[in-house]
C-alpha cells in the first residue's frame, strides 16, 4: 500500500534520514520503533509532505506522492496523527472533529454521522464536546487527535508516538483503538517509543537508529530479540 524507497532527508546540513526503505501492506499494523532522534518523526513528516525529502520516492497505492504538499495528502486517503497531538487548543472538541473532515466537504448529515461514530469510539470526547481542546488532559487530547484524523475516513492512518506522555490506561485505550481500526479494515502505521507495546500489537516492525533502518521483520520475532534492549539502553 505504502512504499518508501531510499528516502533521505536532511535539515540544513544535518542528515536526519539516510536511504530508508520500508513498506506497509494493506490491512496490517506496522510499527516503527527506535530511540529519540532516530528520525522516526522525520520519516512520517516526509511521507505526508510536511518535510521535503532530499531524495527517494514514496509510493502510495502505486502513485508517487513525494513532493505533494501536506494539505493534498489527505485527499489520497492517508491521514497523519502528529506527534504531541497538536489539537487546535483554542477550539472546541467538536470543532476539532469538524476540521478533521475539512477536506471531504461532505454534507452536514454525513459529518454528523462521522462525529457520532467517533463519540462512540471515545465516549470521553462526547462528554467534553464543547470544551476547548486545550483544556483536555493529555490522554483525551490524544483520543481527539486520533478521532480527528479518522474523520476523513482514511485508508491508511499514520500515528506518531500516540503513547507519548500518557499514563498506561490511556495507552491501552489508544492501542486498543489501533487494533479496532485494523479489524475494520484500515491500515495502520505507528511510530512508538514504547517498543514492547508497539511490537505486541503490530504485525511487522522497523527499528530505526540514527536515520537508518537497523532491523525489520515480524514483530513477534523482534520481541524475542535481545539486541533490541541494547538499542535502547545502550551497553556498557
Amino acid at each position: 500500500m505504502l512504499q518508501v524507497q531510499n528516502l533521505s532527508v536532511s535539515y540544513g546540513q544535518a542528515s536526519a534520514l539516510h536511504k530508508v526503505s520500508m513498506e506497509v501492506n494493506e490491512g496490517e499494523i506496522v510499527a516503527v520503533i527506535g530511540p529519540n532522534g532516530a528520525g522516526k518523526t522525520t520519516l512520517l513528516k516526509a511521507i505526508t509532505g510536511l518535510q521535503k525529502a532530499k531524495e527517494g520516492t514514496i509510493l502510495y497505492k502505486g502513485n508517487e506522492i513525494s513532493g505533494t504538499p501536506a494539505h493534498k495528502i489527505l485527499g489520497y486517503g492517508l491521514s497523519h496523527v502528529p506527534q504531541g497531538r497538536q489539537v487546535f487548543g483554542d477550539q472546541s472538541v467538536e470543532d476539532n472533529l469538524i476540521l478533521g473532515a475539512f477536506s471531504i466537504k461532505k454534507e452536514k448529515q454525513k459529518i454528523q454521522e462521522l462525529i457520532e461514530r467517533e463519540y462512540e469510539r471515545f465516549p470521553r470526547l462526547k462528554e467534553r464536546r464543547s470544551q476547548h481542546a486545550g483544556t483536555l488532559s493529555g490522554g483525551e487530547q490524544q483520543m481527539l487527535a486520533v478521532s480527528r484524523a479518522l474523520m476523513s475516513d482514511p485508508d491508511l492512518v499514520i500515528l506518531d508516538e500516540p503513547s507519548m506522555g500518557l499514563s498506561p490506561i490511556f495507552v491501552k485505550q489508544i492501542f486498543d483503538t489501533l487494533l479496532e481500526l485494523k479489524k475494520s479494515g484500515k491500515t495502520v502505521m505507528v511510530v512508538e517509543q514504547l517498543a514492547m507495546a508497539a511490537l505486541a500489537i503490530s504485525d511487522r516492525a522497523y527499528v530505526l537508529q540514527v536515520g537508518e533502518v537497523k532491523l525489520h521483520g515480524e514483530s513477534r520475532d523482534l520481541l524475542r530479540d535481545n539486541s533490541l534492549v541494547k538499542t535502547y539502553l545502550g551497553s556498557k
Binding site: 494539505h71 487546535f88 487548543g89 477550539q91
Partner: protein, 299 residues
Amino acid sequence: MELTDILKALINGLVYGSVYAIIAQGYYITFITTKTLNFGQGDFVMLGSLIGLSTFITITATGGSVWIAFIASLLLVIVILGICGWGLEQVAIRPLKSWHSIGWILSTVAVSMIVRNVAMLIWGRDVLMAPSPFGRAILDLGIMKIRYHDIFVLVSAVVIMLLLYVFLKKSLFGKALEAVAFNRDAASLMGINPRLMASIAFIIAGILAGVGGVLVGPMVHPGAFIGLFLGLKAFAVAIIGGIENPRGIFIGGLLLGVLENLFTLYSTSMKEAAAFFLILVILAVLPQGLFGKRVKEKF
C-alpha cells in the same frame, strides 16, 4: 463641564472607537495566520471610502435611492478591497515569506505609497464629501443630539463584529483559519491549505478596511492623504487590545475612543498626545496589550 458633555464624549468615543476596532480586526486576522500585517491598512480604508463615495454619488445622481446606492457601494468596495487584499498578499507578503524579520513592514508601506499615489491621481488632492445614507439627520434626545449616521456606525460595528465572530467560530472556513493560526502543520494535515488561508486572511482584512472606510467616510471627509492617520489609530487599537485577541481589540478600540474623547473635555489639542502616552504606559506594564496572551517560551 456638564453631564451631557461627558455623555456626548462617551458616545463619540464609542462611535469612533468602534470604527477603529473594525479596521484593526484586519490586523488581527492576518497576524494570526501569517505573523504579518498590512502597515498600509489605513490607505486601504482611504481607498474604501473613496470608492464608496464615488459609487454612492454616481448611483444617486442617476436617480437611485440612497439605500440602493449605499448597498451597491458597500458591495463594490467589498469586491475591490477584497481583491486589493489578495493582491497585497501576492506582491508584498508572499514573496517575502522567507524573511524572518521586518521586510513585510516596508513592503506593505511601499504598497501603501503606490495606493496613495493612485488615489491622488484619481480623486485629486482635495478631501471630498462622502454623503451618509442618512444625510445629516440628527436624533434629538432633548439632553443631547446624535447623528443618525453615528448610531448607524455603532450598530454596524457591533453587527460586523458579530458577523466576524460567527464567521471565525461557526463557519468551517473560519474554523480552518483559526486552525492555521493555532498550528500550521496540524492544519495542513487536516487538508487545509495554509497558503490559501493566508490569502483569505488578507482578503478579509482588505474587506474590513473597505467596510470601515465606507462607514467612516461620512465622518471624515475622505481624501488621498487621510490613510496614515486612520491606519495608525487602528494599529494602536489592535496593540492595546492584544493583536491576537479579537475581543480584546474591540474592547481596546472602544476604550481608546472613549478615553480620548473624555480627554477632550480637558484639552482638545492634546488628545492625541494623551492617547499615545496611554499606549506607552499600557505597553510598559503589559507588553502584550490589555488582553493579549502571555506565553512562556520553551528552550
